[in-house]
């Protein structure tokens, strides 16, 4: 797409989209958002990139094959579920660790649930990019 305006706009927008997607991912457990939404938004960042600057450039920017990202995401999500075995719990039982909890707040949560959501993010992100890129390269 040989539009200067779009390309320049994309410079700012795709960055913002990626940033925003991560934000949606992190806050997803307590407010609207989460892995799906995050992943979808993140992928639109690269979709825009591909539309504005062509898939070759977008692929170079991504560096990794999108399907590998997606598969890795699936693996991460699965491991997050299997991790429960280490604690003698059933598959996909959330494991939580709270850093410096105080009496009023639980503290900063780290959990397999978040890892799972990250897996979801990567899957959605990678899959959609793989799809759109492949399609883009057909035309």
């Amino acid at each position: 797409m040989n539009s200067i305006i779009l390309r320049v706009g994309t410079q700012y927008l795709s960055g913002m989209l990626l940033l925003f997607s991560l934000y949606m991912l992190i806050r997803g457990h307590n407010e609207p958002g989460g892995g799906f939404i995050g992943g979808l938004i993140g992928s639109t960042g690269f979709v825009l990139y591909a539309i504005a600057c062509g898939t070759d450039e977008a692929r170079r920017a991504l560096r990794v094959m999108p399907q590998n990202i997606a598969m890795a995401g699936l693996g991460i999500a699965l491991l997050a579920g299997i991790a429960a075995a280490a604690f003698g719990d059933a598959l996909f039982t959330g494991q939580w660790l709270f850093i410096n909890p105080t009496e009023d707040s639980k503290g900063i949560p780290l959990s397999t649930v978040l890892v799972f959501d990250i897996g979801v993010y990567l899957v959605v992100f990678g899959s959609i990019i793989a799809l759109v890129f492949a399609m883009e390269e057909e035309i």
Binding site: E31, F36, E138
Partner: protein, 123 residues
């Protein structure tokens, strides 16, 4: 609202079915999008509608203070939407590939896997 949505869904389905019955498989794709939406709405409606109260627990509270929307159907619909998108995307690519390989979007002309019987086949 539920009855109105029931009717709306019915119309969506009717439109979708009509499109899916078309000769041009692209219309099937359109129908697929419509009917997926109809299915998602069905779950959403069947789970009961609550206006203006998202299923979020306000900070400081242990649970929603007053009635909030039914969260489970929302989760189901969300899942269904994403799955539906996956299926849609594949179907679209398939039809695309069908056109580039078979040279047509008209299902009547897609007779490779099941060729028209030659006259000699007749009893």
């Amino acid at each position: 609202m539920e009855p109105l949505l029931a009717i709306t869904i019915g119309i969506l389905v009717a439109a979708a079915v009509y499109l899916m019955l078309a000769r041009n498989v692209l219309r099937f794709i359109f129908g697929l999008v419509l009917i997926s939406n109809a299915a998602n709405l069905t779950i959403f409606v069947a789970g009961g509608l609550t206006a203006g109260a998202p299923p979020l627990i306000p900070a400081g509270a242990e649970a929603p203070v007053d009635l909030v929307a039914n969260a489970l159907p929302q989760a189901l619909v969300l899942t269904a939407i994403v799955i539906g998108f996956g299926l849609f995307a594949f179907a679209l690519v398939l039809m695309f590939r069908a056109y580039t390989t078979l040279g047509t979007l008209y299902s009547d002309d897609m007779r490779v896997a099941e060729p028209r019987p030659e006259p000699k086949d007749a009893p």
